[in-house]
Symmetry: C2
Subunit: 412 residues, 2 copies
C-alpha cells in the first residue's frame, strides 16, 4: 500500500523517488497524484518526507487538485537556464532537475527514477544530471519489481472499490456484446448479417465496445481483444477488423478497460462459440474449464502465485498439451502465465512466475486467473479469465460474476 512506500524505499536503499511524465496513463505518477491533466510533470519524494510536484505554469490549477505541494517550472527561469547551458536544451533540463532536487533538500544519495516517459529526453537529461551531481546516483529498477510495484501489490478498500466498479462496468459491456452478437441473423455460410445485409465484422463489434465503454466513463487504452478462429489461437492477437463473425468458431473476448483518464483497471475474458461448437472446439474448452476449476479449488491465501503456474503446467501437460515449461518456445498449447496482479497497471505484481517465490497471493492483492490453450494452425484458441481479491479475512472474492457458457444460442 501507499503507506508502505517509505519502508520499501529503505529496504531497497533508495533515498529519493523521482517520477517523470504525465499524471494520467502513467501508473507511478497516477498512484501518487490521483491523475488530472498535468503533463510533463516532475515529482520528487525524499524518503520520510512529502512529495513535491513540479509542473508547467499553465497546469498549476490541475496540479493543485492533487493536494500535493506544487511548484511551477517558471520558478526556474528558462532564460537564465539557457544562458547557463549555452542553449544546450539537454543541459537546460539537467540544470533545472538539479535545482528542483536541491530545493527538495536532495544533494546526494540514491535516486530511483520512474514514470512512463519519452525515453530519449529522459535518458539524455539523467545522463547530463549525473555528470552535474557526482554525489547522487540515478538508478532504475526492473519492470517486474520496483518500489512502486511492491507498494501497489496490496490494495486498500478504496482501491478495491474502484476495481470492483470497473468490473461492474465491464460486465455490463460484456452482456451487451453477448446480446448484440446473438441478436443477429445468419446467412447460408454461417456468417452473421447486419440489418443492412452486410456481414458483421470484428471492427463493427469493437466500435460498439468502445462506445459502450465510453458511455460508462471507461476507456481501453490497451485495446480490446476480440479474435475469432485462427486469430484466437494467438493469445495477444487483438483480432482483424475486417474478419467476419461466423458460427462454430472460437471467439476470445478479453476486455481490460480502465477509468477514463487512466486509473484502475479490470481484466476479464470469455471464449464463445456462436450457435454450436464443433467437437474439437468443445474439447478444447472443456480442457481449459477443467483446469480453471481446479486452480480455483487449489488457490490459497499466501501461496506463491508461481505455484499456481506450476500446477497449471502440470494439469495441461497431463491433458496432453505442450506448455512453455515443457517446450520454452512453444507456439501451441499453454503459452503464457496463469495470471497477474491488477490495479493502476493492467499487469503488475504479484506475478505468476515459478522462480519468483516472493510473489504471494497475500491479503490485499487483486489478480487474474486465466488459463488458456492455443492452436492457431487448428484455427482455435480458448481462454477463461476472472479477477479475484484476496480479502483481509483470508478468503477470495471473485470480483464480478458472469456465466461461463461457451456456446451462445443465436436468437436473431
Amino acid at each position: 500500500m501507499k503507506t508502505d512506500l517509505d519502508q520499501i524505499m529503505q529496504d531497497r536503499n533508495l533515498d529519493v523517488l523521482l517520477v517523470l511524465g504525465n499524471a494520467e496513463h502513467n501508473s507511478p505518477m497516477y498512484y501518487l497524484t490521483g491523475g488530472g491533466h498535468v503533463n510533463d510533470a516532475t515529482l520528487i519524494k525524499p524518503r520520510g518526507k512529502d512529495a513535491t510536484l513540479f509542473c508547467n505554469d499553465m497546469e498549476r490549477e490541475e496540479a493543485a487538485k492533487t493536494g500535493l505541494k506544487t511548484v511551477v517550472y517558471s520558478k526556474y527561469s528558462l532564460k537564465e537556464l539557457r544562458k547557463e547551458a549555452n542553449n544546450d536544451m539537454i543541459l537546460v533540463a539537467a540544470l533545472r532537475l538539479q535545482k528542483m532536487l536541491s530545493d527538495c533538500g536532495v544533494r546526494s544519495g540514491r535516486i530511483g527514477v520512474y514514470g512512463q516517459t519519452d525515453l530519449s529526453s529522459s535518458f539524455s537529461m539523467l545522463l547530463a544530471a549525473q555528470k552535474l551531481m557526482p554525489d547522487v546516483e540515478f538508478v532504475g529498477e526492473s519492470g517486474m519489481d520496483s518500489v512502486f510495484l511492491q507498494a501497489m501489490e496490496t490494495k486498500t478498500e478504496d482501491e478495491v472499490a474502484r476495481i470492483r466498479k470497473m468490473g461492474q462496468i465491464t460486465m455490463e459491456v460484456v452482456a451487451k456484446v453477448k446480446d448484440f452478437l446473438t441478436g443477429h441473423a445468419v446467412d447460408e455460410n454461417e456468417v452473421l448479417l447486419r440489418t443492412d445485409g452486410k456481414p458483421l465484422t470484428i471492427g463493427d463489434v469493437k466500435a460498439k465496445i468502445n462506445l459502450w465503454l465510453a458511455e460508462r466513463g471507461a476507456e481501453n487504452p490497451e485495446a480490446t481483444i476480440f479474435a475469432i478462429g485462427r486469430d484466437a489461437g494467438f493469445p495477444h492477437s487483438v483480432g482483424t477488423p475486417s474478419d467476419k463473425i461466423r458460427l462454430g468458431k472460437t471467439i476470445i473476448f478479453d476486455i481490460f478497460p480502465c477509468e477514463a483518464g487512466g486509473g484502475y483497471f479490470y481484466d476479464f475474458t470469455r471464449t464463445w462459440c456462436l450457435g454450436y461448437a464443433p467437437e474439437a472446439e468443445q474439447k478444447l474448452y472443456d480442457d481449459v474449464r477443467e483446469v480453471y476449476e481446479k486452480l480455483i479449488d487449489e488457490m490459497e491465501v499466501n501461496m506463491p502465485f508461481g505455484e499456481l503456474q506450476r500446477l497449471t503446467c502440470d494439469l495441461f501437460e497431463a491433458q496432453g498439451h505442450p506448455t512453455i515449461r515443457s517446450h520454452e518456445a512453444t507456439q501451441e498449447g499453454y503459452v503464457h502465465s496463469v495470471g497477474h496482479g491488477l490495479g493502476v497497471n493492467v499487469h503488475e505484481r504479484p506475478w505468476a512466475r515459478m522462480e519468483m517465490k516472493d510473489n504471494l497471493l497475500q491479503r490485499g492483492t487483486v489478480f487474474t486467473i486465466e488459463p488458456g490453450l492455443y492452436y492457431p494452425e487448428r484455427g482455435m484458441g480458448v481462454r477463461i479469465e476472472n479477477s479475484y481479491y484476496a480479502r483481509p479475512d483470508g478468503t477470495f472474492e471473485r470480483i464480478v460474476e458472469f456465466p461461463f457458457d461457451f456456446v451462445l444460442e443465436m436468437k436473431g
Copy 2:
C-alpha cells in the same frame, strides 16, 4: 519525411536507432511500424539498413502486420539468460538487448534511444547494457529536437490525408457539441438545464464528446479541454466536471483527438459565450480574433515559426496585454506559444520559439495557429485555434473550416 531518416541520422552522427515500447501511443514506434497491438517491443534500425522488430511471441502475428522483419523474443532463451545473469532481471534485459543488437550487426557506434517507455526499467537496462558494450554509446536526444521529430516535421500526402480525416471528424463532433449546448433550456440563474431538470455540467458535455469521438473511430488520449469562466483563464485547465454551464461566460473548447489506437491527431479550439457576451468578454474575444487574423495575413512559407511568436507578442503588447516575452512568469495575458507542429504527436516540430531559427513553416509541415488571452482572476479566457498545412505549392491550407462565432444563440 520517413525517407529522410538515414540522412538525418548521418547529420546527427547516429549509427543506430533503438526504439522501445508499444506500437501504439508511442510516436516513434508508431511512425516506423504503423501501430497494432504489439507491446514492449524493441525496434533496431541501423543507418542505411531496414529495421528489425523484436516482439513477444504472443504478438508475432500483430507484429508481422507491420511489414517489418520480425523476430520473437523467445529466440533468446529466458532460461539461459537468467542463468547467465544469475537471475538479475536488469542484467537479463541488458544481455538480451546486447544479443538483439549483435544479431542486427551492431557491436559499436552511437545508438540513439527512443520510445514512450517505463523509464525505470529502460534506464536500468541501458546503464547495464552500456557496461556490457564499451564500444557502443547509448545517447538520448532533446524532447524538442530529435531524429524523429525532424523526420516527422514534413508530411507525405498520405499523412496529411489522415490528419484531414481527423479534422473532419473533429468538426462533426464540435458541431454536435454546439447544437447540444444551444438546444438546452436555461433557468432563472442562467444555468443550462437538462431534460431531467438538473443543471448541465462540464462532465455531461465531456461524456458526450467521448461518445461522439468513439462513434467515429477516434479517441482523445490527451483528454479534451472544456473549461468555463475562471477555469478558461488557465490555458490547460481541462475544466471541472461538476461545473455548471452558464450563459455569458467564456467557454474554451480545445479538442485534440487522434485515430483510435494512436496515430494522427487533429487540434482545434473555439471559445464560446452562450446566449450573450458581457462587454469585457467580447473585448477579449475581439482582441484575440484581431491578432489571429493578422497572423494569418503575415504567415509566409519558409518563415521561422518563431517569427510568428514574436509578432504575436508585438500585437498583444500593443493591445496592452502582458506576454511571456514582456513578463517571463506572467500568469495573465498571453502565456503560451502561438502554435506547434501536429502529426503522430499532438505537439511536435516545428516549434514557435523565437530562439529556434531552424523551425520553419516549410512545405509539408502541418501546424496550429492558436493565439489566446487569459485572465483567471477576471474569470475569463479566450483562445482561437485552427490547423494549417503548408502545401508543396507554397500555399497554406486551413485543413477544415468552422465558424468563428463567439456568441452562440440559445435555441432550447
